[in-house]
């Protein structure tokens, strides 16, 4: 017990010395910590945002249509005839086919893109639960003229807090009037912020799409295991169409965020690498003051291992504190500040700023990955070169340096 307590006291003494040494050079050390912590903060934030978005997308997309049918012409999407719905009705296994006009409108005056959706919500399989997404009002009836439900960003940008009517330009620059019958709530913001939902005829009128044409057919099947089989049958029956299953769309989404996140991560990792190289370069050299200090300590009875322990504690302190502070700041940034720094990168730089709260996913594997990418290289870069202090001869202090 005595040997243990002496050993423990020795380590605490060395830690005290390391901390005092750290504090003596506090400007330099705190600067390193801030930079290192900032790099970890950026990496961790990206990781959390990406995970959060892909998890939400995966959960939400589970409710997307089983199969989406679109029409391609010269490799570009075009409207498809409503009559295709009847051709699909003959395929065994299809439960429902719901036509939809799904497009975007660029509001030149506001510089914003709106997503416009025209469909009969009552015809959708999940339509009965749809009113849950509303903060107020109702969805327009199928034969209602000009009725629409808008997202919160639309309310804001069109100034609909105090009025119900607004207009949008048709392609021939005539105005199409709309009347707000309902607004989407905050809980569905991540899906509906930029959305205007109206009836099929109203959407066709807005886009000047000729009657009898739609942009998508939402196909729902009886047996989910038959999705791929039915998709093949649809492709065979409608050779000019593009048939997208839900799993294909989910992969696309993962690719989108994976691309953006990966691009940003590569930039950050490059910065991290530069930082590690600088740390190695700094740690590799011993200043005359450091050599003198090491020589004095050695003559006074400090072993080389004790001196290496000082450098180890200093490196550990910076690395560990930077990591903890960086990850903590990343969490606060993502959850309580809605990842404000990265929204333009991860979420696009739109005029409409989708207002939703991200709930990150804290996976031990992610935290460990960030730890291995940041703390371990830094420790290797700063502690390994500390062996140089082992070659400072103890008699250098006796010789006067």
């Amino acid at each position: 017990m005595t040997i243990f307590s002496t050993g423990l006291e020795k380590q605490l003494n060395i830690l005290d010395y390391a901390l005092a040494s750290f504090w003596r050079r506090k400007l330099k050390n705190l600067s390193v910590m801030i930079v290192f912590g900032a790099v970890i903060f950026l990496l961790a934030s990206f990781q959390m945002v990406t995970r959060s978005l892909t998890e939400t997308a995966a959960d939400v997309l589970a409710a997307a249509p089983d199969i989406t049918v679109q029409r391609l012409s010269a490799g570009r999407q075009e409207s498809l005839p409503l009559a295709y719905r009847d051709r699909l009705a003959a395929i065994f296994g299809i439960r429902k086919v719901v036509p939809r006009i799904w497009g975007y409108l660029f509001d030149e005056g506001k510089g914003a893109n709106y997503t416009i959706m025209g469909l009969d919500v009552a015809a959708m399989p999940g339509g009965e639960k749809l009113p849950q997404s509303l903060a107020a009002g109702r969805f327009p009836e199928p034969d209602e003229t000009g009725g629409c439900v808008v997202g919160r960003s639309i309310v804001r940008i069109q100034g609909l807090e105090s009025r119900r009517h607004f207009s949008l330009f048709r392609p021939d620059l005539s105005l199409k009037p709309f009347r707000v019958t309902g607004t989407f709530g905050a809980e569905s913001a991540i899906l509906t912020d930029d959305l205007i939902v109206t009836t099929l005829p109203e959407a066709a009128d807005l886009f000047a799409i000729p009657a009898g044409l739609v942009t998508d057919l939402c196909v729902y099947v009886v047996n989910p295991r038959e999705i791929d089989t039915i998709a093949k049958k649809i492709a065979a029956r409608l050779p000019d169409s593009r048939v997208l299953t839900r799993s294909q769309i989910l992969k696309t989404y993962q690719v989108v965020f994976g691309w953006r996140s990966g691009f940003a991560s590569i930039c950050l990792l490059t910065g991290l690498l530069a930082f590690i190289i600088l740390a190695w370069d700094k740690a590799s050299g011993l200043s005359p003051e450091e050599r003198r200090e090491i020589g004095i300590l050695k003559v006074l009875g400090w072993e080389t291992a004790d001196i290496l322990t000082i450098r180890f504690w200093e490196g550990c302190l910076i690395a560990a504190l930077s990591y903890v502070l960086g990850v903590t700041a990343a969490y606060i940034h993502v959850v309580h500040f809605n990842a404000a720094l990265f929204r333009p990168v991860m979420l696009g730089w739109s005029v409409l700023d989708p207002t939703f709260r991200l709930v990150p996913v804290l996976e031990a594997a992610d935290l460990l990955l960030i730890f291995c990418l940041t703390v371990l290289p830094y420790l290797a870069a700063t502690v390994v070169p500390a062996w140089r202090c082992a070659i400072v001869p103890a008699d250098s202090a006796i010789r006067g340096g």
Binding site: L8, N13, A20, I296, K298, G301, A394, D395, R399
Partner: protein, 238 residues
């Protein structure tokens, strides 16, 4: 005679015993240097001797061997009862901690540390708790009349006080042997005499003291029992 065993003892083993000690740096390499040749030296416990020699004479090398910093290349060296030859570096360090107190040229105090922290530096790797470290340091500071400077950074005290801090640091481990390398080189006469007065007290208390110096205030001090001249790595008897 050029060298000899300057042993004035009564036959009992000395605290410092060197016999036929040689030190060669970079042995076998083109820049090989023989720093010490056939050094025979015995210093009894409680004696004060002075090593006198010019720069490059081998004085610092001899001091390093006596101080258990490194072992000799050949010969026998026993310091405070421990043979140094073939002793691994770690054990040399452990022995040095317990047996030797160093007072350096220019004192080699760490300027950023406080007086108290400088004095207690040798106690840290021994696992001595903070309370005990402070108690021992304060006792020494009181005896050396520098207790009022405890919290001062070492770069804010006078030369004389620095000297006492260096002495206190050398004594904190209660070593039997004190080594001082040109301790008065940067001190005026008054401080040099003060230093020697403290050394004399330590000698009376039973410490064995070896001072490397060519300052006459040191070499001609009555407390110094022997002067050992070193020239070209050999002891010369004049």
């Amino acid at each position: 005679m050029e060298s000899g065993c300057l042993n004035l003892s009564t036959g009992q083993p000395g605290l410092i015993e060197l016999a036929g000690v040689c030190k060669i740096y970079n042995q076998g390499r083109p820049n090989e240097v023989q720093a010490l040749t056939n050094i025979d030296l015995t210093v009894e416990a409680g004696n004060m001797v002075c090593l006198r020699g010019a720069s490059g004479s081998g004085k610092s090398t001899l001091l390093s061997i006596i101080g258990c910093v490194f072992p000799p290349t050949s010969g026998r060296a026993a310091i405070a009862g421990k043979q140094l030859v073939r002793l691994p570096d770690r054990f040399l360090t452990l022995h040095r901690r317990r047996a030797i107190g160093f007072i350096f040229q220019q004192f080699n105090i760490l300027p950023a540390l406080t007086v108290l922290d400088n004095i207690t530096l040798p106690l840290l790797p021994l696992g001595v708790a903070p309370g005990e470290r402070k108690a021992r340091a304060r006792a020494l500071m009181a005896s050396l009349s520098i207790g009022h400077r405890e919290r001062f950074p070492a770069n804010q005290i006078s030369g004389g006080e620095l000297q006492r801090v260096a002495i206190a640091r050398a004594l904190i481990n209660e070593p039997p042997i004190i080594l001082a390398d040109e301790p008065t080189a940067h001190l005026d006469s008054r401080l040099s005499l003060e230093f020697m007065a403290i050394m004399a007290e330590l000698k009376t208390a039973g410490k064995t003291i070896v001072i490397a110096s060519h300052d006459t205030l040191v070499t001609e001090h009555p407390a110094v029992e022997r002067i050992i001249d070193i020239r070209d790595g050999r002891i010369h008897v004049s």
